[in-house]
């Protein structure tokens, strides 16, 4: 076993004035290295809250969280920032790229805040990562000059560049048409094949089938957790669509 993520009875309660809302009610989740897990659930099921906790953007109300075997709890703001910087790669629904800033500089951003100097040649690493997601010829383009799919690939490159333990993708194709979505999933599947651990949050069942494992959430707890049997291959899907055309 080579656990990247392990949570024990993780809960999160939001206090909204008089009312307290229990977003998570005891989550036990284990993610092994090299897995591709899709978390599914309707809105309000707590999947985004779980994502924020795993991504160290927020702290749990109770429970334990281990990342790479190390307990994450009661850390200072700076320590959380450093974990996000070195161990987590985020891919958001709205791409969240810096506007009017080249792909190169967008991908470079996590390295700017890396205080460990793990990556010896940042420029080279950035270009290599952009080539890895198929954007080697677009490094100086700004987001406005890129298509939605290309923008999301820049975002994936940004998540990858710091060699994180896990990539957290929160509805990565929510803003994209289905064809482009499949292209993005082909990139994610390819990365996963290369050994990158991916945690995906989605509410579309079709896209969840690109993952290896599916976790279904409802009302703040995990209802089902199973291996995807008839996993879809994004590359094959693209070929099929082309044949249909």
């Amino acid at each position: 076993m080579n656990l990247v993520i392990e949570t024990k009875q993780l809960t999160k309660t939001y206090q909204m004035g008089e009312v307290s809302v229990q977003a998570l009610r005891g989550i036990d989740l284990m993610v092994d290295k090299g897995e591709f897990v899709a978390i599914m659930g309707a809105s309000g099921s707590g999947k985004s809250t779980l994502m924020n906790l795993i991504g160290c953007l927020d702290e749990p109300t109770s429970g334990e969280y281990y990342l790479d075997g190390k307990r994450v709890s009661a850390l200072s703001k700076n320590e959380y920032a450093d974990i996000r910087n070195q161990k987590i790669g985020f891919v958001f629904q709205g791409f969240n790229l810096l506007p009017r800033t080249s792909a190169l500089e967008n991908v470079e951003l996590p390295l700017v805040y890396d205080r460990t100097n793990r990556i010896k040649d940042p420029k080279k690493a950035v270009i290599a990562t952009l080539e890895r997601v198929g954007l080697g010829d677009r490094i100086n383009h700004i987001p406005n000059q890129l298509s939605g799919g290309q923008q999301q690939r820049v975002a994936i490159a940004r998540a990858l560049v710091n060699q994180p333990s896990i990539i957290l993708a929160d509805e990565p194709t929510g803003n994209l048409d289905s064809h482009t979505s499949i292209e993005v999933f082909s990139v994610l599947q390819e990365l996963n094949d290369q050994g990158i651990t991916i945690l995906l949050v989605t509410h579309e069942h079709d896209f969840a089938l690109y993952a290896k494992r599916l976790v279904e959430m409802r009302d703040g707890i995990i209802r089902r957790d199973f291996i995807v049997k008839n996993r879809r291959d994004a590359k094959q899907d693209i070929l099929n669509i082309k044949d249909e055309d």
Binding site: L57, D58, N85, N96, Y113, N162
Partner: protein, 406 residues
């Protein structure tokens, strides 16, 4: 810690993305800094001009006039021993070793008539040493001599202003003017001296032998003041003290008794005049300084807008691992770069303005390097002060909320 050069590079990049807005934001600082520098330059220029004019009178000038300078609350009355006579002048000439020249000054104000015109002016009755003491040169004609003084001759010299008023475009030498019905022959025209440090026209004057004015025009035996010059500017304090001792003796003042006269030297007069203009300089600088602070408020305003506008960017930066301190430094750096570049442009602008004023206006400006340094540092301080609140606001944003911000 992030490298300082990277921080400044990033700040410049972000400022250049909003060129127009950045320029308008800096405008407050640009105007503030150049206003401070130019205002102080005007103040110091005026001060320099005043000092130059006063020193042109002669740095070794000592003036004694009757009346105690210290208002002790006791009036000594106008006793004869309190006022100067020709005897006092004579005693100074004989006994003083540190005074190179001594002249009585008798002052009378009168209307004068000459060349078909009339003019109200001041008449100075002096001895020939007076011209040496005030280093006053002739434009034309001759000075009068000690013999003329003894003979109470009715001759006079005209200041440039008087000459131009009475005899415009003519040579008045040899002509006669009438002062209180007494005819005076003009023997010379004095060179233009311009305005004094106090703003008086020094050329609006008629100068005649002291005896003539005192005995023929005014009557009585008292002179208004004594002008003298020390043998050197360095010995002026000693010369002043010697003059005081001699005058006290002449007026038979007991030791411990207050002086019945006041002696001033050129250095003191210069000081008094420049103290006035120094206050003016400080005032001008302070008013301009206010505009610099207002410029700072402009920066704060725009930085607050910028933080709100870039909430998402802040969220992105936090999510990829920026610490709060990184965000704080980023926005603080932007504010400081804005204000410092504004300061720099302001300095360049003030140089231009000062050059322009020196060349095309009558106002003399002297730029003080210290003021440049101070206003540059101050503009940076304004950036830090007014940039801190917006930067702090940015740094304390919650990453989740910031990422969701629309």
């Amino acid at each position: 810690m992030l490298q300082l050069t990277n921080l400044f590079k990033a700040a410049f990049k972000s400022i250049l993305k909003n060129r127009m807005r950045s320029l308008l934001t800096s405008l407050g600082i640009i105007i503030g800094v150049s206003a401070v520098i130019v205002m102080v330059a005007i103040g110091e220029g005026t001060q320099a001009q005043i000092e130059q004019q006063i020193n042109a009178l002669g740095t070794d000038l000592i003036i004694a006039f009757p009346g105690a300078s210290r208002a002790g609350g006791v009036s000594r009355g106008a006793g004869s021993s309190n006022r100067f006579t020709f005897d006092d002048v004579e005693k100074l000439r004989q006994e003083a070793t540190l005074l190179s020249a001594v002249s009585p000054v008798v002052i009378a104000g009168s209307q004068i008539i000459g060349g078909g015109n009339n003019w109200s002016t001041t008449i100075f009755g002096v001895s020939p040493e007076y011209f040496e003491i005030r280093s006053w040169k002739l434009e034309d004609g001759d000075f009068f001599t000690e013999r003329d003084v003894r003979a109470r001759k009715k001759i006079c010299l005209l200041g440039k202003t008087v000459a131009e008023e009475l005899y415009p475009g003519q040579n008045p030498i040899g002509e006669k003017i009438r002062i209180r019905n007494t005819p005076f022959t003009i023997t010379g025209i004095l060179q233009k001296k311009g305005q004094s440090g106090m703003g008086q026209d020094q050329d609006d004057v008629v100068i005649a032998p002291s005896t003539t004015i005192l005995y023929r025009l005014k009557g009585g035996q008292y002179i208004n003041m004594i002008n003298a010059s020390s043998i050197s500017a360095d010995l002026i304090d000693e010369a002043q003290e010697e003059m005081r001792t001699i005058l006290r003796e002449a007026h038979r003042l007991e030791p411990g008794e207050d002086d019945t006269f006041t002696i001033r030297n050129q250095a003191e007069i210069t000081e008094a005049a420049s103290a006035t203009s120094k206050i003016m300089t400080i005032l001008l600088g302070a008013v301009a300084g206010v505009s610099l602070v207002v410029g700072g408020i402009g920066i704060m305003n725009i930085m607050l807008v910028s933080v709100t506008e870039r909430t998402r960017e802040i969220g992105i930066r936090l999510s990829v691992g920026a610490r709060s301190s990184d965000i704080l430094t980023q926005f603080l750096t932007e504010a400081v770069v804005l204000s410092l570049s504004g300061g720099l442009i302001g300095i360049i602008l003030s140089f231009g303005t000062s050059l322009f004023m020196n060349k095309f206006t009558a106002i003399l400006t002297v730029i003080n390097p210290l003021i440049i340094l101070i206003s540059f540092i101050f503009s940076g301080a304004v950036g830090i002060f007014f940039g801190f609140y917006p930067a702090k606001k940015a740094a304390t944003l919650n990453p989740i909320d910031a990422l969701r911000y629309e």
